[in-house]
Amino acid sequence: MRVLEAIRRANQPRAPEHSVRLRVATTCAVLVAIGASVAESTLAPATAVLAAALVVAGMVFSHATRERPPWWIKVLVAIAAVAALVWFTRQLSAIAGEDITSVEDLLTGLFGAILVVHSFHVPSRRDLMFSLGSSGALMAAAAAQAVDLHFAWYALGWAALSLWTLVEGWVSASGGGQTSIAGLIAALVGVTAVAAAVFLVLPAPSFAVRIDFLARQGSGGSVGIPGTLAGDAGGAGQAAEPSRPGSPAGRTRVGGYLGFANRLDTALRGNLSHTVVMRVRAQRPSYWVGETFDSWDGQSWGATRIASHAAQGSPFTVPTPQGDIAGSQTDLQTFYVATSTPDLVFHAENATELWFPTSTVFYGDDGTIVSPIGLGKGTIYTVESSVSAAAPQQLREAGGGDLGRVFGGGTLPPALQRRYTQLPHAYPRVQALAQAITAGAPTTYDRIQALIAWMGANTHYSTDTPPLPAGADTVDEFLFGNRVGFCEQISTSLAVMLRTLDIPVRETVGYVPGPYNPVTDLYEVRASDAHAWVQVWFPGYGWQSFDPTAAVPLANPAPGATALTEVGHALRSIPVVPVVVAVAGAGLAVAVGRRRRSRPRTWAEQVSRRIERAGRRAGRPRRASETITEYATDLDHISGDGSLTWSRLAGAVEGSAYGGRQPPPGDRREILASARRSRVRSAAAGRTIGLITSRSFGQKVAASEQRRSPSGGGHRPGDPA
């Protein structure tokens, strides 16, 4: 019975809500949430327009019938809500056996339907708050799909409208109470501060327990010869071009990078732009591997990979490349392609599983994954990688002795050994240099580190280097020339030095993780993040990445630390002088304003303050219990000259304040001037504590008093001063 009673009480009709502002604010919040769903493609535009129109119509209907909602509307709303739930359940069960990749879309549909249905029966304030909460659910579903900062407009708009709704709700609940601007600003500052504090403290969200992995086809075109590398498509719907090396003259490839092709010309560095190429949601930062090269001709790298294809549908199980070992650390990454890219499927090293929006993908025997379609804007795919977590000591032990040909009881196949130690010609100088640098290094790992340390100490990074002359060897030019180059030249030099030491190594190109965005929880990979590094083969551990260009290891990001760093950068970029001038100006304005506010408003107050100041200077401050006349009398007594200056002044003040007698303007000025000039003189000590008033002042005040007295007649407008 208690439960029934509670249910009955909860369902009791509430007082109708008459506030139009509250209803408008709620409706606007709901409309913004619908707009956000459209922007994040969780709601079709036509559906959204229909939903928005119905919500507005429903709110108008609810307002019109708020006093006496028709009985049938509640029945209709209940039936429609049940229908929406049935639809959601059926849709969910239909996809449950296959691939639950669009739960968010279904949820958005459900929340949207409930919002629309509910908007026709929103008579009370509590119902409006329910609408606001449902719009929050819609926003959450849209936010789950948001990968860039454009969503901030919707988030800010919805947050502002929600705050407006809540404030209007309070105004309505308190019988039309007024909320001060200062109070609202304080509340806004409080909300922002709390949200920022929570944002800084909370760790980044992890999607380790998610049940669906995203894969969605974007706007990329088809590829002429599937399985081969293609250039970036010219635009949506346009067929991708066959792969070809870029030229330094312009942005011929993705953001101007010349790699991601069948050949990598190390003599040239493209003019890289800052275009966002893709955004990556990952459990940890990694180098996003695009492809590897094994064949070096002195100026360019080539790939002799053997492509194979897998016909099974998504998710694809990526075979382990020959000689490689899956790492022990699982890393799940979702890539959101932001601009047209080559048909390379980027991933963290050692991809093991791939969720991709096609039925076929192509694998190279080196681990390179190639898409059968061009990857245009909007493409989403997810990769699971087994990243190596080998510690330096383990690599030292693995590569100890005679270069470690033994691999888990076997050996690296001779063909691969030859392939990854291939050199176009003898590099006697390079070999001598490498041997000299690694003379004291007993293991492969130590030799690599010794070479990296030497390069860090003896070479310099610059993209502003002239192209190499035709026929020149990149490594010879770099190591024995000015030792200034970019990542392709630095990594190639390391690779060649290692190969002269008979260590299997390959050149790898891809992207560095890119800056971490603490709001979207995504790594934003720009074209300028294109990078080249080397992978060295270790027995028992497979290919291990080494980046001689940036040997500093990357740390896992923390949203708070990253945001604080960004704030620090932003603060450092603030122009100091204008800000200081502005702050000083604002402070001055505040000080002037306060001074103006504290200024006496009437001449009588001014005179009163002058009297008190003169008394204070004479060492006789006014007591709280004293009237101004009593005080002035005492000051006259201290002066002892019998002029009664202060008493007369006090009389004028009291006459004005309590008797409403205002002296003529001329007298008033004279009184003020005299009050300014007057000082208290101590007659007993014979010393001047203040200056006695002007001689005429006593007569002036007396004359004024005379005019104000009933017999003398008061001052009337128009009378001569």
Binding site: L166, G177, G183, G190, F199, L202, D521
Partner: protein, 306 residues
């Protein structure tokens, strides 16, 4: 005196807020989306300020009692004029009264509002205790506390007018209602009457005679009645004391209405007070201040004497 600020209904809004934030957190972690988490942080900020903020608003709120009546009667409403710095829900606790909203409104800005109190017992109030609450700025959580606001002057709440005590015969006689006053040769003037044979000629009123055109005589009567002394001893039990006070007021009012001079003897916190009362308000004030004496239960009640 201000008592501690506390949530008015602590459980429901806080649990709902915790559920919302928890759900949001689960969604953020299942989706892995930073935007969900960022938006959830804003939602948390709104809920936090919405739940905690009213306590700060309430702590900073200022209430000023601008005007209050000096006298009241138990069971009858009184209006207090109150000015508040922010919009507040006010429930008078002592004396009790219905809930009302005070403070600035959007339409007319800041101003004074009337709060009605309904004292249910006699007494003297130097303060009113109000239970003030607010949910500003978002209306999510009500916070309340009790404030004691000093009255500009003590408020005397008189008892209800109860059934009067039966008046003794001598009182009726004194009041001249059961026995005709006896005309006498000396005493207070009563009026004039035509001359009858045997009347003292010194009592002839010549002015009335001239006016009436017959011989008129001044008539005298006995002196006016002696004051009635009403001794009120309140018992220790407050309820019984209230009833005695009500009857006492009813008796005093009846006596005053019949023209009797009344001397009221009561015990106040400062000690016994014996003084005449001229009107109902004075009697109400005296009875409002009256307290019971220790050990008075035995002789509690109302006694009338000459």
């Amino acid at each position: 005196m201000t008592l501690r600020v506390h949530p008015a209904r602590p459980l429901a809004p806080i649990f709902v807020a915790a559920a919302i934030v928890g759900t949001w957190w689960v969604v953020a972690h299942n989706s892995g989306s930073g935007w969900v988490q960022a938006l959830g942080d804003v939602v948390f900020g709104v809920l936090f300020i919405g739940i905690v903020g009213p306590s700060l608003v309430l702590a900073r709120a200022k209430i000023h009692l601008a005007a209050a009546p000096l006298d009241g009667t138990a069971g009858l409403t009184l209006d207090l004029t109150i000015r508040a710095s922010t919009r507040l829900r006010v429930s008078p606790a002592d004396p009790p009264g219905p809930e009302a909203f005070i403070g600035p409104t959007r339409r007319r800005g800041a101003g004074e509002e009337r709060v009605t109190v309904l004292p249910d017992q006699r007494g003297v109030h130097h303060f009113v205790t109000l239970r003030v609450a607010t949910a500003a700025p978002f209306g999510l959580q009500w916070w309340a506390h009790r404030v004691r606001v000093g009255l500009p002057a003590p408020l005397h709440v008189a008892p209800r007018r109860g059934q009067p005590e039966p008046l003794p015969r001598w009182v009726h006689e004194q009041l001249g209602e059961s026995v005709q006053r006896v005309p006498t040769d000396s005493g207070e003037p009563r009026g004039v009457r035509p001359y009858r044979s045997g009347d003292d000629r010194r009592h002839v009123n010549w002015a009335a005679t001239a006016h009436a055109a017959e011989l008129m005589l001044r008539e005298l009567e006995e002196p006016a009645a002696e004051p009635v002394r009403l001794t009120v001893v309140l018992p220790l039990d407050p309820e019984q004391g209230e009833r005695v006070a009500e009857r006492a007021l009813g008796t005093v009012v009846v006596l005053l209405e019949r023209g009797a001079a009344v001397i009221l003897a009561t015990t106040e916190s400062s000690g016994p007070v014996v003084a005449s009362v001229a009107d109902r308000r004075g009697a109400g004030r005296r009875l409002a201040r009256a307290v019971s004496q220790p050990g008075a239960s035995a002789g509690a009640g109302i006694a009338m004497s000459r």
